[in-house]
C-alpha cells in the first residue's frame, strides 16, 4: 500500500502545545513541507520569537536559537551574515513582530537581509492570555481592550505586509490565510517562495499568515476559521505586496 499522506520529514512527531483549533500547527506543517521539498532541512536554522511560537525547536528537527522578544530579525541578521550558506528563518507572532520588535523587523527588511520571516497574525497576544496587540481589529474585545479596540485611544491595526513592501530591501512580502484548504494551499506556495527568495539571494522575504486564536477569541475552532474570512480579511487583504523577479536591485 502506498502512503498518500504522511508527516513531513522536517516535522517531528512531538505532540504540539498549541490549543485545539489553533492554526500555528498548520503553519508549522507547511514550513516543514517546504523544507522537505527544497531539501534544506540540514542547513535550516529556525529562530522563534517569544510567545506561542517559542517551542519551534520541538517541532522542527533543525538547529534553533531562542531569540529575545521581538529581536529575532536582528539575531537572524547576525546569523545569516555569519553563515550565508545556511537558510535562516525567524518565526514571530504579532506582539513579537508588530509591537516590541518593529524596529528590528523594519531595519532587517530595509537592509535587505537575506533572511525569511514567518509572521503569525492572530490579532492577539496568545500565550499571555489574549491581550490587545497592534493587530487587534477595531471593536475587538480582548482582556486589555475589554470595551473593544477604539481607534481614538488605541489607533488602528497595523498592516505589516503592506508596510514592509514599501522598503527597497524587501524581495517578497505577502499576506496569506490559514482558514480553508484553498488558502492553506496558497500559503504553502508563499512559504516555499519565501525560502526560494533566500536561496536565490534575492533579499528579505516575509509571509504574514492570518491565523486563529480561538481560545483567546473565546469562540469555537470552526467559528474562528469563519472569523478570519468575515472579520480579518476585509481589513487585512490577502495578496502579494512586493515580489522581486530579478536581481534588479544590484
Amino acid at each position: 500500500m502506498n502512503a498518500i499522506f504522511k508527516r513531513p520529514y522536517s516535522l517531528t512527531d512531538a505532540p504540539t502545545h498549541f490549543c485545539p483549533g489553533c492554526t500555528h500547527g498548520i503553519a508549522h506543517r507547511l514550513i516543514a513541507e517546504a523544507m522537505d521539498e527544497l531539501g534544506i532541512t540540514d542547513r535550516a536554522i529556525g529562530i522563534p520569537g517569544v510567545g506561542c511560537c517559542v517551542f519551534l525547536y520541538r517541532y522542527f528537527p533543525i538547529d534553533a536559537l531562542e531569540a529575545p522578544h521581538g529581536r529575532a530579525p536582528a539575531c537572524a541578521t547576525g546569523m545569516k551574515r555569519a553563515q550565508p550558506d545556511s537558510v535562516i528563518f525567524a518565526y514571530q507572532g504579532d506582539g513579537d513582530m508588530a509591537a516590541i520588535g518593529t524596529s528590528e523587523i523594519i531595519h532587517a527588511a530595509n537592509r535587505g537581509e537575506n533572511i525569511t520571516v514567518f509572521f503569525i497574525n492572530n490579532s492577539v497576544y496568545g500565550m499571555t492570555g489574549g491581550q490587545m496587540a497592534p493587530t487587534t481589529l477595531l471593536g475587538q474585545q480582548t482582556t486589555t481592550s475589554p470595551y473593544g479596540r477604539d481607534f481614538k485611544s488605541e489607533g488602528y491595526p497595523i498592516k505589516m505586509a503592506e508596510m514592509l513592501a514599501t522598503l527597497e530591501g524587501v524581495a517578497y512580502s505577502t499576506r496569506v490565510a490559514l482558514h480553508s484548504p484553498k488558502h492553506v494551499n496558497q500559503a504553502k506556495k508563499a512559504i516555499r517562495k519565501a525560502f526560494e527568495m533566500q536561496m536565490n539571494e534575492m533579499g528579505f522575504s516575509m509571509v504574514e499568515m492570518l491565523s486563529t486564536c480561538n481560545t483567546n477569541w473565546r469562540v469555537s475552532p470552526l467559528e474562528a476559521l469563519k472569523m478570519i474570512e468575515r472579520e480579518m480579511i476585509p481589513y487585512f487583504p490577502l495578496g502579494v505586496f512586493k515580489e522581486r523577479t530579478g536581481k534588479d536591485f544590484l
Partner: protein
C-alpha cells in the same frame, strides 16, 4: 623586541578584537567609544569581516547573539545608556551560554550623563545589569596595552566559559595615547565550539535557549551556571600588586584611579609613607582572596574610584573583618588627582604613620 606604536586606547581595543579573530562587529554610535566602530568599519572588511551599523544597541547585541550562536567571535561596544539597552540581550547570552564581548567605555550617569572619565557602571557590569541570576566576566584595562591584550583575553575567556565577557574602561583609558605593542603576546586560543548552530548537516539538531519550564529545570540550570561562575572565580583572577611587602596601607583601585594611585604611592613613599597597591584587572572574578590576605596583614585599606562607592562594597565583603577601610570617590567626571589621593593616604594612615 617587538615594535611599539603610539596608539589610542579605543583603537588598541579595536585592533585587539581583530587580532583575536573577531570578524563580526555590530554597533550604534555613542561618545566616547566612536573610535571603535569607526576603526572596525574601516578595517574589518579588509579581514573578510562584517560590520553593521545597527539601528540600536538592542539590535546590536542581538546581531552579536546571532553571530555568536553561529560559533563566530562577535563584539559590540557602547557606553552608558547604550549598555543599558543591551542588558536584555546580555542576560540571554548568559542564560543560553553564548560567548560574546561587550565593551563599555563608560559615560557619567545616571541618565544621558556627561562624557568625562567615570566608573559609574561598575555595579551594572559586575553585579548583573540584566535580569536573572548570572555573572558577566568583567575585565578592566588600565593602559592602552591592556586595551589590546585584555580584548584578546576577553574573547578567549568568553569562548572558554561560553559566557559574555565585558570590558569596562573610563574615557581616559579609551581616549588617551600610549606606546602599544599591537601583536598578541602569545598565540590566540580558539576553543572548539561543539554547540554552535551551523545547520544540523547530518548531525543531531542543536538548540540554544534560556527557557526552562519543566519542574526544577530552571533551578538545575541556575545551579549549573553557578558552578561555572565558581570555576571562573577560582581560575581566572587577574590582579596587579605593588609594594605590598612593607605596606602599612593598601590602595585598591582599577582603571585610571589605579594609575593616579601609583603616582600618589610614589609621592607617599618619598615622604616615607609605606603604601602598596592592589589593582583588580578582572572585576569578576574579583581578587577577593588577595584582598583578604593583604588586608589582614596590612590592616588599612583605601579604595579609590571614580564613582560614589561601588567596588568598595565588594572590597568590604572580601577584606579581613578587622581591616580599616576608607573610601575616596570622585563621581560624574570628577577626577582624583595625585595630591588628592596623597591627602587621603595621610588621612587613612592617621597621625601615627611615618
Amino acid at each position: 623586541m617587538t615594535e611599539k606604536k603610539l596608539t589610542k586606547g579605543n583603537i588598541a581595543l579595536a585592533e585587539g578584537a581583530i587580532q583575536a579573530g573577531c570578524r563580526f562587529y555590530f554597533g550604534y554610535p555613542i561618545t566616547p567609544q566612536n573610535d571603535i566602530p569607526e576603526y572596525l568599519a574601516r578595517n574589518l572588511p579588509k579581514h573578510g569581516g562584517t560590520f553593521i551599523p545597527a539601528e540600536s544597541e538592542i539590535a546590536s547585541i542581538n546581531m552579536v547573539m546571532g553571530a555568536a550562536a553561529s560559533g563566530k567571535r562577535a563584539m559590540t561596544s557602547s557606553s552608558g545608556p547604550g549598555i543599558s539597552l543591551m542588558q536584555e540581550g546580555i542576560s540571554y547570552l548568559a542564560g543560553s551560554e553564548m560567548p560574546a564581548v561587550i565593551v563599555n567605555i563608560m559615560r557619567c550617569g545616571p541618565g544621558l550623563g556627561g562624557i568625562a572619565p567615570t566608573q559609574g557602571d561598575y555595579n551594572q557590569a559586575v553585579h548583573g545589569g540584566g535580569h536573572g541570576d548570572y555573572r558577566n566576566i568583567v575585565l578592566a584595562p588600565g593602559s592602552v596595552q591592556e586595551m589590546f591584550d585584555l580584548t584578546i583575553k576577553a574573547f578567549e575567556l568568553a569562548d572558554r566559559y561560553r559566557n559574555p565577557a565585558m570590558i569596562i574602561a573610563d574615557a581616559m583609558i579609551g581616549q588617551f595615547q600610549e606606546p602599544c605593542r599591537l601583536t598578541p603576546e602569545k598565540p590566540v586560543e580558539f576553543p572548539e565550539k561543539p554547540w554552535a548552530l551551523t545547520g544540523r548537516r547530518g548531525r543531531e539538531p542543536r538548540l540554544l535557549k534560556s527557557l526552562y519550564l519543566g519542574d526544577y529545570e530552571q533551578e538545575e540550570h541556575n545551579l549549573f551556571l553557578k558552578q561555572k561562575y565558581d570555576e571562573i572565580q577560582e581560575k581566572e583572577v587577574m590582579v596587579e600588586m605593588q609594594h605590598l611587602d612593607d605596606a602599612e596601607l593598601v590602595i585598591i583601585a582599577f582603571g585610571t584611579p589605579a594609575r593616579v594611585a601609583k603616582t600618589a604611592i610614589a609621592m607617599a613613599r618619598e615622604e616615607g609613607l609605606k603604601v602598596g597597591l592592589i589593582r583588580p584587572i578582572t572585576l569578576f572574578p574579583f581578587p577577593s582572596q588577595q584582598i583578604l590576605e593583604h588586608s589582614r596583614r596590612v590592616g588599612k585599606v583605601l579604595v579609590v574610584e571614580m564613582n560614589t562607592g561601588q567596588m568598595v562594597r565588594d572590597v568590604r565583603i572580601a577584606a579581613h573583618k578587622d581591616a580599616e577601610i576608607s573610601f575616596y570617590g570622585r563621581p560624574g567626571g570628577g577626577f582624583p588627582f595625585p595630591d588628592d589621593v596623597l591627602a587621603e593616604i595621610k588621612k587613612a594612615l592617621g597621625g601615627g604613620a611615618r
